[in-house]
């Protein structure tokens, strides 16, 4: 029985943390807040590509490392801790989607270039309708004489402006699934958006846009399951990012509270400070446990994975925001200065908390799961 990171994962964890703290100091992220939307430095991006991070969860044949969701989560946690801008996470999700589609053509044509940083692919799921989740998708793909055509609007598409291909969640005759569209296809209009944390994203409008491969990823049989999987994996990777952010906020504050002296002693000796931090530590540990549980369930193909994914997202969304707000509060005036990095974590965690479903959405999803399948007291 083992329920923690493997040695390889631990090593990756450390390596990623060291890399980012050296090559991507908080100062860079803060500077990018002014250069809206944030675009990562090309040289750092190349190093990330070369380390193989984009293929961390892709098979070795496809040029990947062959890790599982848990391994991908390790990197996303560090991306959160280090406030790393895109397109790392969106590329990672795109690679996972393509590989899991089992579409040989796509895997051969697109995946190696994606992992090698030569082609940028993003994933478009959220819509302006105010709802979360694949079952609410309104964008529609129809078969016509000219092939498959796509219509609808997506918002908050990560790096939608920089992507060359888009994997788009759409309602198709084979159920809801992902279709692949070239960003420069006719009928595709892209408007730049950005987020509170300056991450680049876009509104993408499809007006009878032609679908690339002419079909839905995974084929009729698997399309819907695949989208569900991608939704869950993306959600859990957001949770991992939130965990990294929460820990970074806690670390900054723990350090500040140990050093900052007021009333003749370090402020960390006041219970108004120390007990708040203790409560955050507790929630961080609970959130990390849920994250591991959700990753493990996804990697094992456990039926129970979906509610655990929701649990991790709900829990860490609230914990990361609370950790960042507390950090700001305890840092006092210093925390509110632009130069100090605390607000970067507040911005990032606020965004990630809302993406792919806020805490209430995921609680509702768990309640629906309880309705369906939760038979209460387990008997021998």
């Amino acid at each position: 029985m083992e329920f923690n990171l493997s040695e390889e994962q631990e090593a990756l964890h450390e390596m990623a943390r060291d890399f980012l703290s050296e090559r991507w100091p908080l100062d860079r992220s803060r500077e990018l807040l002014d250069a809206r939307p944030a675009v990562i430095d090309e040289d750092v991006w190349q190093e990330i590509v070369e380390m193989g991070w984009l293929g961390v969860a892709a098979s070795e044949e496809a040029g990947g490392i062959g890790g599982d969701v848990m391994t991908a989560a390790v990197l996303c946690e560090e991306a959160g801790r280090g406030v790393l801008p895109g397109p790392f996470e969106s590329s990672l999700i795109a690679a996972i989607a393509i590989e899991r589609s089992g579409d040989q053509a796509l895997c051969k044509e697109l995946l190696p270039d994606l992992i090698a940083g030569k082609t940028r692919v993003s994933v478009a799921i959220e819509e302006p309708g105010g709802l979360y989740g694949p079952e609410t998708v309104a964008t529609e793909a129809r078969e016509t004489a000219e092939g498959w055509l796509l219509s609808g609007t997506k918002i908050l598409v990560p790096e939608g402006n920089e992507a060359e291909k888009l994997l788009v969640a759409a309602r198709t005759p084979n159920g809801v699934g992902l279709v692949c569209v070239a960003a420069d296809a006719e009928g595709v209009t892209i408007h730049r958006m950005d987020r509170m944390d300056a991450q680049s994203c876009a509104e993408v409008v499809f007006a009878n846009a032609k679908i690339d491969a002419g079909t839905v990823l995974g084929g009729a049989d698997r399309a819907q399951t695949l989208l569900r999987e991608i939704y869950d994996i993306w959600t859990v990777l957001l949770a991992a990012d939130l965990l990294g952010s929460a820990e970074a906020s806690l670390d900054l504050t723990r350090q500040y509270a140990s050093e900052r002296v007021q009333f003749g002693r370090p402020i960390g000796t006041f219970q108004a400070v120390s007990h708040r931090l203790a409560d955050i530590l507790v929630n961080v540990e609970i959130g990390r446990s849920l994250l591991y549980g959700a990753c493990l369930a996804l990697d094992e193909g456990n039926d129970n994975a979906a509610p655990l994914v929701s649990a991790a997202k709900a829990s860490l969304s609230e914990t990361a925001v609370a950790a960042a707000e507390t950090a700001l509060q305890i840092h006092g005036g210093v925390g509110f200065s632009w130069e100090y990095g605390v607000h970067l974590h507040l911005r990032r965690s606020r965004c990630n908390a809302a993406l792919l479903g806020d805490a209430d959405h995921h609680r509702d999803r768990i309640a629906a799961h309880m309705d369906e399948s939760w038979v209460a007291p387990v008997k021998a």
């Binding site: 950005d194 509104e203 509060q329 925390g335 632009w338 130069e339």
Partner: protein, 403 residues
């Protein structure tokens, strides 16, 4: 119990309403109002002319400096008149006053503790926004623990020579004067060696460096003081007697009732936003949790309003101010935060969208409001310090040895 205003009070309210209607109007933007004030005044050249013209116009009409003595340009107004004035101005959303710090902090402090010369010299210029003021209390090592400040003054025949640094100084860049605390007796217990001084910001040795805040704006400054000379006549109160004056400075706050009207307006915006933002076929307001969250804010705002009535009623009756002030400040600051959190919850999937992006909600106002509200619980005494004060001063719990 009786919540009615007197006939004279109601007449005062009517006159004020009429004046405001003419000079502010129903929906005039702050810029338009200030522009009109500037045109009416005919002043020019000064880049702050528009901003100064509006408080001058108010002053000419008799609606600033209400509690101050007439001889220094004040109105000697009654307490209920002050309340009515605060309420009515909040109701029509008058533009902010550029001389707020002067009007609400240093002015009242000088009225209470200033020498006759200080009052004559400074008060009229504060009222007419001729002098803008900033506050020099916080230092890098003295935030919550204000009394541990290090900025020090040597004393010689002509007055003080000040060296040190102040921080989080709002509007220092625009200000003509600063009131500040300096240590004048390093050997005394820490609260007993502090003096309260007035500093002309054009004095040699003063330098100001802007600090950017977390929301991206530039409200704060650092102020460096390098052998800065302050004449003896600019001491407020006794030498080494600055601490209690500073405490009372911090207590000079506007009546909480105008804050209530601002919160009520925010709740109105939230309610409308929730009724408009879609969640598929429904709107966000159909979620019972959202309805309850907003109803809870309604409750809290009414609580604050009625707490204000109680405080007011006691003040009119000449009773000592009860727990109202510190309680109201703490509660209002937490409520304001919670309301902006509710706003982000209602925005839901659109919460991350930054201003100037397609699909942004209310032009991104709630992001800004959120940062502001978080900052508010730090500026002017953190919520933690407020709780210490309530525990010791109101509940009478024993004081811990370390503050």
């Amino acid at each position: 119990m009786d919540l009615n205003f007197s006939t004279a009070d109601e007449e005062y309210r009517q006159r004020l309403r009429t004046w405001l209607k003419e000079n502010v109007g129903g929906g005039g933007s702050a810029n338009a109002v200030m522009k009109k004030a500037e045109e009416d005044s005919g002043s020019a050249k000064d880049p702050l002319a528009g901003a100064r013209a509006w408080p001058r116009k108010l002053h000419d009409a008799g609606y600033v400096g209400l509690p101050w003595p007439k001889e220094y340009g004040g109105q000697d107004a009654s307490f209920t008149e002050q309340v009515i004035c605060a309420e009515e101005m909040a109701r029509v959303r008058t533009p902010p006053l550029i001389n707020t710090i002067g009007l609400s902090i240093i002015g009242p402090t000088l009225v209470q503790h200033g020498t006759e010369e200080q009052k004559k010299r400074f008060l009229p210029r504060i009222l007419r926004a001729d002098d803008l003021w900033c506050q020099g209390f916080s230092e890098p090592e003295a935030g919550s623990d204000l009394a541990s400040l290090r900025c020090r003054a040597e004393i010689d025949a002509e007055g003080f020579v000040v060296n040190g640094q102040k921080v989080w100084t709002s509007l220092a860049f625009l200000s003509d004067w600063m009131f500040l605390l300096v240590r004048t007796d390093p050997d005394a217990p820490k609260r007993e060696g502090i003096s309260y001084l007035l500093l002309d910001m054009k004095t040699p040795g003063v330098s100001v460096r802007p600090l950017r805040n977390a929301a991206g704006g530039q409200h704060f400054n650092e102020v460096f003081l390098d052998d800065v000379r302050i004449p003896r006549e600019n001491l407020v109160g006794e030498l080494n007697g600055g601490w209690p004056i500073a405490r009372s400075s911090l207590d000079h706050e506007r009546s909480g009732l105008s804050g209530v009207i601002a919160l009520e307006e925010t709740l109105g915006r939230l309610w409308r936003m929730a009724g408009q933002l879609k969640r598929g076929a429904k709107d966000a307001l159909e979620d019972p949790s959202t309805r309850r969250a907003l109803a809870q804010h309604w409750i809290e705002i009414e609580g604050l309003r009625h707490l204000g009535y109680r405080t007011l009623s006691d003040q009119i009756a000449g009773k000592p101010p009860g727990a109202g002030s510190s309680v109201g400040k703490l509660f209002a600051s937490e409520l304001r935060q919670e309301m902006t959190r509710t706003a982000l919850r209602i925005e839901g999937p659109l919460g991350p969208v930054a201003k100037r992006s397609p699909h942004v909600v209310d032009r991104g106002r709630w992001h800004a409001a959120y940062f502001d509200a978080l900052a508010h619980s730090i500026g002017g005494g953190t919520s933690e310090i407020m709780r210490n004060v309530i525990a010791e001063k109101v509940l009478g719990l024993p004081r811990s040895q370390d503050d």
